[in-house]
């Protein structure tokens, strides 16, 4: 594995570890409802600090169930991921296109470095 890819994989692995460790170590065991959605807890907690406090405005739309809510959260993440994937895919394709165009006409030079190194075009030839 190339060093660059290895570093990226390590970064993602560290994020995953940070998310999984609290679960694996049972850090939520002291709670009645471990790893609960914190906003509902917060609402009740505020009314406990100030028992008289009445929320004066209700959400216009509330997901009817936890399942629908997580579906909408998944939708949000999917939308974002889609746009990010589109962006990086487009960039990748453009770079490949430029590289191929440069190889087709040896006279023209691409803006990027390492035109010779890019002989294998599609492979992960990541010039720095």
């Amino acid at each position: 594995m190339k060093r660059n890819t290895a570093v990226n994989a390590l970064l993602l692995l560290a994020v995953a570890a940070l998310a999984v460790l609290p679960l694996a170590l049972g850090l939520g065991d002291h709670k009645e409802e471990p790893f609960a959605g914190a906003d509902a807890e917060a609402e009740t907690a505020i009314t406990e600090i100030e028992p008289d406090y009445e929320p004066w405005f209700a959400p216009l739309y509330e997901p009817p169930s936890g399942e629908v809510e997580s579906a909408l959260f998944a939708l949000q993440a999917a939308l974002g991921t889609g746009v990010l994937a589109y962006y990086f895919g487009l960039r990748r394709g453009r770079r490949q296109g430029e590289r191929r165009a440069a190889e087709a006409q040896p006279g023209a030079r691409p803006g990027e470095t390492g035109s010779a190194a890019g002989a294998a075009g599609d492979l992960e030839t990541r010039e720095a």
């Binding site: 190339k2 060093r3 990226n8 970064l11 993602l12 560290a14 994020v15 940070l18 998310a19 460790l21 609290p22 679960l23 850090l27 939520g28 065991d29 002291h30 709670k31 790893f35 609960a36 959605g37 914190a38 906003d39 807890e41 917060a42 609402e43 009740t44 907690a45 505020i46 009314t47 406990e48 600090i49 100030e50 028992p51 406090y53 929320p55 004066w56 405005f57 209700a58 959400p59 216009l60 739309y61 997901p63 809510e69 959260f73 949000q76 993440a77 939308l79 974002g80 889609g82 746009v83 990010l84 962006y87 990086f88 487009l90 990748r92 803006g111 990027e112 470095t113 390492g114 720095a128």
Partner: protein, 261 residues
């Protein structure tokens, strides 16, 4: 709002237990800031958002090619604020993802992109809210990006490697957002005994514990995306001043990737 009315009947537990449960409020829930506070935070946020919309339209007009990267920055915020991650305190919270856009496009853009994300969550997910939009925008879309950007610039000025500065910038954007949220809550719901500062101290200390691992995650993810950007969008990063022209990022990182090639 049904859980609220059910719970009010029960006697309040100790203040510490209460605070421990309040702490991982990701955004302040609908209707949970007194009207005066809601209006005040709205008024405080409005100029930043208006200014942000202006600089956003100017940027898009002058550099239409940056629209894509702007979209990607907004998308990053979308993804990260949908990721509710478990944390060491046994609760869940989520990162904000505002650091990346603030570093790339300066904070005013994030005032807009962050507010759009908040609006999406308030309208569709009943997460955060319209009446608390001003307060939540102030913490996540204004203070967070500015704090992250400031730390990033400071570190860069003193010669920190690009990726280290990006990590700490994103870390600061995330953590400061939740510090502001706890201050906003402490202002609205001061501790009956020790008042604002007491409430802030308690909120803050618990907040920090929950959010620090998430802020680390956010920093790592932002570094990850920035590394992809360095590979894929060098020209754009040079134009935005993140990389120096001629392929030098100023310090460590650049030499590093040069060595890889």
């Amino acid at each position: 709002m049904s859980p609220v009315s059910q719970e009010t009947g029960q006697g309040a537990s100790t203040i510490h237990e209460v605070l421990e449960r309040v702490c991982p409020v990701m955004h302040i829930a609908e209707g949970f800031l007194p009207p005066a506070h809601a209006v005040a935070w709205g008024v405080a946020s409005a100029p930043f958002i208006v200014h942000g919309v202006r600089s956003l339209t100017r940027e898009v007009r002058e550099h239409p090619e940056s629209t894509l990267l702007l979209g990607a920055s907004g998308a990053f915020t979308f993804v990260l604020s949908a990721l509710k991650l478990p944390s060491v305190t046994g609760s869940c919270s989520h990162p904000t993802g505002t650091g990346l856009g603030a570093i790339l496009f300066r904070p005013p853009m994030m005032a807009v992109l962050g507010t759009i994300t908040l609006l999406f969550q308030a309208l569709l997910l009943a997460h955060g809210g319209l009446t608390t939009l001003g307060a939540n925008a102030f913490s996540m879309a204004i203070v967070g990006p500015w704090a992250g950007y400031a730390l990033y610039r400071l570190l860069r000025r003193y010669g920190a490697p690009l990726m280290a500065a990006v990590f700490f910038g994103a870390f600061a954007a995330d953590l400061s957002t939740y510090c502001v949220t706890s201050a906003q809550l402490a202002l609205a719901f001061p501790d009956p005994v020790s008042g604002f500062w007491g409430a802030l101290g308690k909120f803050g200390s618990i907040f920090a514990l929950t959010q620090i691992p998430l802020a680390v995650s956010e920093g790592l993810l932002t570094v990850f995306v920035m590394r992809l950007l360095v590979q894929s969008s060098r020209g754009e990063l040079v134009r935005l001043g993140v990389l120096l022209p001629g392929g030098r990022a100023g310090t460590g990182k650049k030499a590093d990737s040069g060595a890889v090639a």
